[in-house]
Symmetry: C2
Subunit: 351 residues, 2 copies
């Protein structure tokens, strides 16, 4: 609890009065406003980092993994063992997140937060295991409150270990068969929406399975009655170990003034948890993409975030965050490298 409280205390509100950088942007040899959201992205990075000429060279994506008791109830199209199999795939460098991270020059850090099987030692996989999958939350809490706090703290630790080697921008990602189920539960509770409105087909379930999933989530909320204003309570009752881990990475990054690119639905559910622990967190977040998973839009709206790309992705792993990170880095290069009207010898607009 101490590490979490201490880290939360270090989070300052993002301030947006960085005149030097903003003035530079306004003088770039381009028509005013013509780079649209690139301008907004670069200025936000300046405000978060308190650096007038930020460079996003060291990019790290944390892919946090965990298993879920509810997965045994048939809420997912894939069997539970896929979580640990995918961790081996990450270690081999053969998964989509490995390829997309390499494409944008980011490092992938995989963290076992609570996979149901023991994962073979591998230099690229951190062992932060809290348990062998959560409990079935339709019958009682997914985990204890102590475990919920611990999952966030192990996320903080994971970030801090990598931060020592340098991180300019961080992305979050997830792996966990069944984890859209807790994410829908978290979103329903915190955004105060009907379960049906925020529950989708995850990796691809049919109509009947979707009804079952909605039923499981509804039961989970009724049995546990999570307190929407208490992030730890929501996480412990209807969350997941990897969701706690992602919330921890987010909180640690905020405390270090490192911009965070949130991936899709699971990462955004974790961001909702983090924002309940400290509201200032929201200022540090970029929404990487808009997921096909129906609850994602609700979660983004609650956080007041506008996604950077919309490519109908619903894979997770951090794939949407990776693509967006490339665009955010580009926006900072525009700020740093495009010449101003004066430097370029270009006439200004007539007005």
């Amino acid at each position: 609890m101490e590490l979490l409280q201490e880290t939360l205390k270090r989070i300052r509100p993002v301030e947006s009065n960085h005149n030097e950088a903003f003035k530079r942007w306004d003088n770039l040899a381009i028509p005013k406003g013509s780079l649209g959201r690139l301008e907004e992205l670069a200025k936000k990075v300046v405000s978060i980092t308190n650096n007038q000429r930020p460079e996003l060279k060291k990019k790290v994506i944390f892919t946090m993994a965990g298993d879920h008791g509810v997965a045994d109830l048939g809420v997912s199209a894939f069997p539970k063992e896929v979580t640990s199999q995918m961790l081996c795939n990450f270690a081999k460098g053969g998964a989509a997140i490995n390829i997309l991270a390499r494409h944008i020059g980011a490092k992938v850090v995989v963290v076992d937060m609570g996979v149901a099987e023991d994962i073979k030692l591998h230099p690229d996989i951190k062992n932060k295991k809290i348990g062998y999958g959560t409990a079935d939350f339709s019958k009682g809490p997914a985990m204890s409150k102590e475990e919920a706090v611990l999952s966030i703290e192990r996320g903080i630790e994971s970030f801090e270990e990598e931060y020592k080697k340098g991180i300019d921008i961080v992305g979050t990602g997830d792996m966990g068969i069944g984890n859209t189920t807790p994410s829908s539960a978290i979103t329903a509770v915190i955004a105060k929406k009907a379960v049906r409105v925020v529950t989708g087909r995850g990796t691809g379930i049919n109509d009947l399975e979707l009804e079952k999933k909605i039923d499981v989530i509804g039961k989970g909320i009724m049995v546990n009655l999570p307190d929407p204003s208490d992030g730890i309570d929501v996480l412990s009752k209807v969350g997941g170990y990897e969701i706690g881990g992602i919330a921890g990475v987010i909180i640690a990054a905020c405390a270090r003034r490192v911009p965070i690119v949130v991936d899709g639905f699971i990462s955004t559910a974790a961001a909702l948890i983090a924002s309940k622990l400290k509201d200032e967190v929201r200022g540090y977040l970029f929404a990487g993409h808009s997921s096909v998973e129906v609850g994602h839009k609700t979660a983004l709206r609650k956080l007041k975030l506008l996604p950077i790309v919309d490519l109908n992705l619903r894979l997770g792993e951090g794939t949407g965050a990776a693509l967006a990170m490339g665009i955010i880095e580009a926006s900072c290069k525009v700020l740093n490298e495009v010449l101003t009207f004066k430097e370029a010898g270009v006439s200004k607009s007539k007005k």
Copy 2:
């Protein structure tokens, strides 16, 4: 005329029965359909290139420049001399397109298609000048039919010169003060829409100037009566040299089965011209982004293209194409490098 006709003849329809690549994608260790539009992008590159494992290493962006007689009528927020000043900026490597192209590993080829001033010799600027700016199209044709054909052929030449050094994917871009005016005219004529509906504020004109611009375009169409079914006629009457050049690059790339990423409004107007010369062109095009410029959506709809990113850009130069090109390249890396279920040892979905 011969070069144009010959090149058009070499354009084959894009075929989409490439079972090897499509089967590989279906077996990647990801839930079916979970990479959304990345799947569509990669499969389209396969179909265009007729290569089952395409790699987009050699990326080239053509930024075609020209001046416009109508610019003297006050349809733009910037003075005409900015076109040639920006060419110097491109040569210095200090413009937004230089920075974004570098970011994704693309080469920028700047082509003077018809800038009003003489441009200093520079190894990165091709001289394909047809004239010192077009004529004011509100009084008569912007250029002769011979010049219109020549502008397309010089675009073809520009592409061919670079193709010898290798091009896996090409992006288009533009520079030309006043060139949203001909682009709106082209879009109005070919999409058969009211001028007002497809005319926007370009680099940032006010309400009064916008009315003036709509008036100029309306006059241009009335005076010249371009034939919507004849691309050369439309280009010569209400087009521009750089728009012809871009159409030429597009046509040449189609003939070589090279995928084309079209930038914003001006490039899309050029794509409309190219599609009127041969309808099969449309199969080779990717819409890089969705521009703020209001006519762009109409032009994209006419070509049946869905933009890849939407970042409220309206700069031109090829900036939107550059960002999208990075995403298209990523989609091909996913196809080539992500392991299949079998290769990765991951269980398939239960169905």
